[in-house]
């Protein structure tokens, strides 16, 4: 077929040379004329039809970054020349990824395909890329748990790597979930148990990844597992070792509002349900075996081995899912809220542990009580079960969120959990006054607005206006803010202040970025390939993100994304190829393949 190729592109990119492509296209079979029209927005259909007639063309190929823009004028020209207007083929450089190092080859290939009237996507199929059926999941929070179960239930092997001693993550710390007020543990713990019992899940707690090499479909991963020093299979969680351990440390699981021992179980429902030794605080390990060691002597199952050393594990996986989650912003640096100076100013996670029935106060909401440390003589404030319940509580939203100095973004969950807190306080202390200071109420999900409405009706004082001043006046905490809707400056005397602290990526996110060679956005969250179309893929094939580590989201969204990730992983396994990469296909291959494709 006599073909005319028209280049409608003037902007030559770094890697794109139109003249060279034109020269290449002139040698393609059937090409009669090659014209470089440049990026003139108005083309004259008459002039074009004259060119068509002069060369007696039968097919037109429009090549460039936006060839579709010129299709109407060429259609007109073809019609003027009395030809079949169906024979206009587009060769879009931009659409088919003609950029970077592969730009020239890709552009040539698109022109070649268009010349033969073969859709580029039919020809350019990446070569098969065998995929290892095992999957590595980094992070054992609800996202990691959900993704693990989805993949393992499909019969594929999962390595679940968790850096603490138990899976569960932040969700295990929560008392209730919004907006349904379901018990978080009732949703989470069955899933955790199935992780522990699943044949296809290899649970690696106390571990972190140190090195990743290989390519999509065949990654080699080095994992460093810190010594647990307790035999997981033998331990029956009898608690005798904890009873005798003399070392007391702040409990990470309890947001540091209570103490744990150096040999401990994070919480009773932990998976694996076995104790572990905190190597940084155990006096036996710190003194290199000279002191203590009493837990070893008392253990009835003889499962404690304090001399156990760390080990490195090498695994091979096909896909990697990152589900590392988040942590709270260090609220101590936002001075005006007095966190760290005023005892009864709590962060949201601290309150979450306080109100949780498995927390140190058994779920009683109390204010801190003062005691004098006998050794140092200093005042100490602690949350004890016999503390006084607060009569007035202020909850301040957007602490460090939507603030150009800290986090410019909205942390998305704070409004809802703050409302949940209000409900929990009202439920447990019915005559308490709760003041919510908010900027904008972001009740965005299914049933959320109704939940917010419900909390308002429960008698919580919801103040439109962000309090920014928490100070002690004598023994009393005073919270000052502007009640914007009533045009008033308000000062509330309260017994407890809860700060809805903004969220930031989990510690170690930076390491993972470096090890996996993926990118993060300006806020520190992992970048997804495309926010709308591919919210779970990253720029690197075979590496996915799920949950908070991609950006703040609530539990339903996290679970949904985790399941979506599993679909992607399973798809790559069953199709037998990873996220195929076109770069592996050469120009000559595409040319050869185009000849074999026949379109009727």
């Amino acid at each position: 077929m006599r073909t005319g190729i028209f280049f409608c592109q003037v902007e030559e990119g770094l890697h794109l040379n139109i003249d060279a492509i034109a020269k290449y296209s002139a040698n393609l079979p059937g090409v009669e004329t090659v014209q470089i029209l440049g990026l003139k927005t108005r083309q004259d259909a008459k002039v074009l039809s004259e060119i068509i007639q002069a060369n007696s063309l039968e097919r037109i190929v429009i090549a460039g970054d936006m060839p579709g823009y010129y299709k109407p004028v060429f259609t007109k020209a073809m019609a003027l020349a009395g030809l079949n207007t169906d024979e206009i083929r587009l060769a879009s450089f931009q659409e088919h990824g003609a950029r970077g190092d592969v730009a020239m080859d890709r552009a040539k290939a698109t022109v070649a395909c268009a010349n033969m009237a073969v859709p580029f996507s039919l020809v350019a199929i990446p070569s098969k890329n065998p995929v290892n059926h095992a999957t590595l999941i980094i992070g054992g929070g609800i996202a990691g748990i959900q993704a693990s179960l989805e993949i393992a239930n499909a019969g594929k092997l999962v390595y679940l790597v968790e850096q603490t001693g138990t899976i569960g993550g932040h969700m295990a710390m929560f008392d209730k979930t919004f907006p349904t007020l379901d018990c978080a543990a009732c949703i989470l713990t069955p899933k955790m148990v199935s992780i522990g019992q699943h044949d296809m899940i290899n649970l690696l707690t106390n571990s972190r990844i140190t090195e990743v090499s290989g390519k999509p479909g065949a990654y080699r991963v080095k994992i460093h597992q810190r010594a647990r020093r307790v035999d997981v299979d033998a331990c029956v969680a009898c608690n005798i070792c904890t009873d005798v351990c003399p070392v007391k440390v702040e409990s990470e699981f309890d947001s540091k509002i209570s103490l744990r021992k150096a040999i401990y179980i994070p919480f009773p429902q932990a998976v694996p349900n076995a104790y572990l030794v905190d190597g940084e605080n155990c006096s036996y390990i710190l003194s290199e075996g000279k002191k203590c060691g009493v837990c070893v002597k008392k253990c009835p199952k003889e499962c404690i081995n304090l001399n156990e050393s760390d080990r490195d594990i090498d695994i091979e996986v096909g896909n990697i899912i990152i589900a590392t989650g988040y942590e709270l912003l260090d609220v101590g640096k936002i001075e005006q809220y007095g966190y760290g100076k005023i005892p009864n100013v709590l962060t949201s996670l601290e309150f979450e542990r306080l109100t949780n029935a498995s927390g140190s106060t058994g779920g009683r909401i109390v204010t801190k009580t003062k005691s004098i440390n006998k050794k140092t003589g200093k005042e100490e404030w602690a949350l004890t079960p016999d503390g006084l319940p607060p009569r007035n509580v202020a909850i301040i939203h957007c602490v460090g969120s939507r603030n150009k100095k800290y986090n410019a973004y909205c942390s998305r969950v704070c409004c809802m959990y703050s409302l949940k807190f209000a409900h929990l306080i009202k439920e447990k202390i019915p005559n308490a006054n709760v003041y919510e200071f908010y900027i904008d109420m972001r009740a965005f999900g299914k049933g959320y607005e109704e939940f917010a409405e419900r909390i308002r009706h429960e008698g919580t004082f919801v103040v439109r206006g962000h309090s920014t001043k928490v100070e002690m006046k004598g023994e009393q905490i005073v919270v000052r803010g502007e009640d914007i809707l009533n045009d008033k400056i308000v000062e509330f005397k309260v017994d407890m202040v809860i700060l809805a602290v903004g969220l930031i990526p989990a510690p170690g996110t930076e390491d993972i970025t470096r090890i996996l060679g993926i990118t993060r956005d300006s806020d520190g969250w992992f970048s997804e390939l495309d926010y709308n179309g591919n919210p779970t893929d990253t720029e690197r094939g075979g590496i996915y993100v799920a949950g908070m580590c991609q950006g703040p989201k609530d539990i339903p969204d996290t679970v949904a994304q985790a399941s979506a990730v599993a679909a992607g992983v399973l798809g790559s396994i069953t199709s037998g190829k990873g996220i195929g990469h076109l770069s592996s296909v050469s120009l000559s291959e595409i040319e050869a393949r185009a000849k074999t494709v026949h379109i009727l």
Binding site: Q336, C398, N403, K405, G465, H466, T468, I489
Partner: protein, 389 residues
């Protein structure tokens, strides 16, 4: 009542220094942290909102910008970096231009050039007039007495003339301020005895600037330096103004020879100390920009203000030294230079930042009256509300 909106108001205010108002998302942090914001006068957030909505009339009739002393805490805290402190400052500039019936103030704030031309023009006229007067009547080499180049009775009369011109403009502007805020801005009639009741606040705030002192909560040191220095500068200025207007003749030797009137001089020296410390402090802080957020942005009119005052003080000191040393010819020259700066300064005052010397204490006074009225109004509306219920 219909409310007129000026959608371009916010752009208009750009020229006065408020550039980031549009960023504000109404969280109220600024109002909560402000030491002066209370139940009756809530700011700066409300002003930001009014600006965003283009409620020009509402802002014209409010006293709120005058109640802010710009400690800078709000700008420091603002999560949007919308700079509410600077916005209040800009609103004060805008209000000065609004109270001014001549439109000169507005011109100054909108165009640097016009202000400089105004100042230089008046300076040249003054210089020409004084040299003409001096050479036609007196002796260039004599400073004191009847033969003097610029005899003190003449300067006294000249000062009073310029001073009364200044007072004329200021008085009309102050009247307009009262009219805007108390007649247009308050819906119910204000009984006259309220004005009498609060009269004492006028001198109290004028001489102590006590409200400025309470800004110090933000600062870690006990003494809030901007307040003390500002007070010193203001008192120095007022003393100097009184000396110049009333006692200028006492500064020169009597007909009998070099007898110095120390009673007047001591005040002159005190005022000079206050003025020079203030100027040096403000120039350094405005150049350094680190310690206090309120000095971070400087409008062109502020620089004219500071530099003119600096020149006045320096020439005043030099002229005094030359006079005391008996170098009469140079003393005469510097005297003319000094007056060349003083006259535009005085004639610029009603249209510039220095007008807040009058507006600030007046605003405190009017605000005290308004407060009583608004409390009463609120109580009234509350009782009505309950009865309706």
């Amino acid at each position: 009542m219909a409310i007129r909106i000026n959608p371009k108001f916010i752009d208009d205010l750009d020229r006065f220094g408020a550039e980031d108002v549009q960023l504000c998302y109404q969280c109220g942090d600024c109002s909560a942290i402000c030491a002066h914001s209370d139940e009756i006068f809530t700011f700066p957030r409300k002003s930001m909102r009014r600006l965003q909505m283009g409620l020009e009339r509402k802002i014209e009739t409010t006293l709120e910008p005058w109640l802010c002393y710009y400690c800078g805490q709000c700008s420091d805290l603002c999560p949007r970096e919308a700079d509410p402190g600077e916005t209040m400052m800009s609103l004060r500039r805008w209000l000065i231009s609004r109270y001014d019936f001549t439109g000169i103030a507005r011109q100054f704030y909108k165009s640097k050039a016009s202000e400089i031309i105004y100042v230089i023009g008046i300076a040249l006229l003054t210089g020409l007039f004084l040299f003409y007067y001096g050479f036609s009547r007196g002796d260039f080499h004599v400073y004191d007495g009847k033969e003097a180049f610029l005899p003190s009775p003449f300067i006294h009369a000249f000062d009073l003339m310029i001073g009364s011109l200044m007072v004329f403009f200021l008085a009309i502007n102050a009247f307009r301020m009262w009219y805007f805020t108390m007649i247009k801005g308050v819906t119910i009639k204000i009984p006259w005895w309220l004005y009498v009741k609060h009269l004492f606040t006028l001198p109290w705030h004028f001489f102590t600037q006590q409200r400025y002192a309470s800004c110090e909560t933000s600062d870690k040191s006990k003494l809030y330096m901007p307040w003390i220095v500002h007070l010193g500068l203001m008192l120095g200025y007022v003393i100097m103004l009184v000396l110049v207007m009333g006692f200028i003749e006492q500064f020169q030797y009597g007909p009998e020879g070099p007898e110095i009137n120390w009673g007047v001089h001591i005040f002159g020296y005190l005022a000079t100390i206050g003025l020079s410390t203030g100027i040096i402090y403000f120039i350094l802080n405005r150049l350094n920009k680190k310690k206090y957020i309120q000095y971070k942005k400087t409008h062109s009119t502020d620089w004219v203000f500071i530099i003119l005052l600096l020149l006045i003080v320096v020439t005043g000191i030099v002229q005094h030294i030359l006079h005391r040393m008996g170098i009469n010819m140079w003393a005469n020259i510097i005297y003319v230079v000094h007056l060349i700066f003083v006259v535009p300064w005085l004639l610029r005052m009603p249209f510039s930042k220095w007008a807040h010397l009058v507006y600030r204490p007046l605003a405190m006074y009017l605000a005290a009256v308004q407060r009583d009225v608004k409390v009463k109004q609120e109580a009234l509306s509350k009782s009505l509300f309950i009865s309706v219920k």
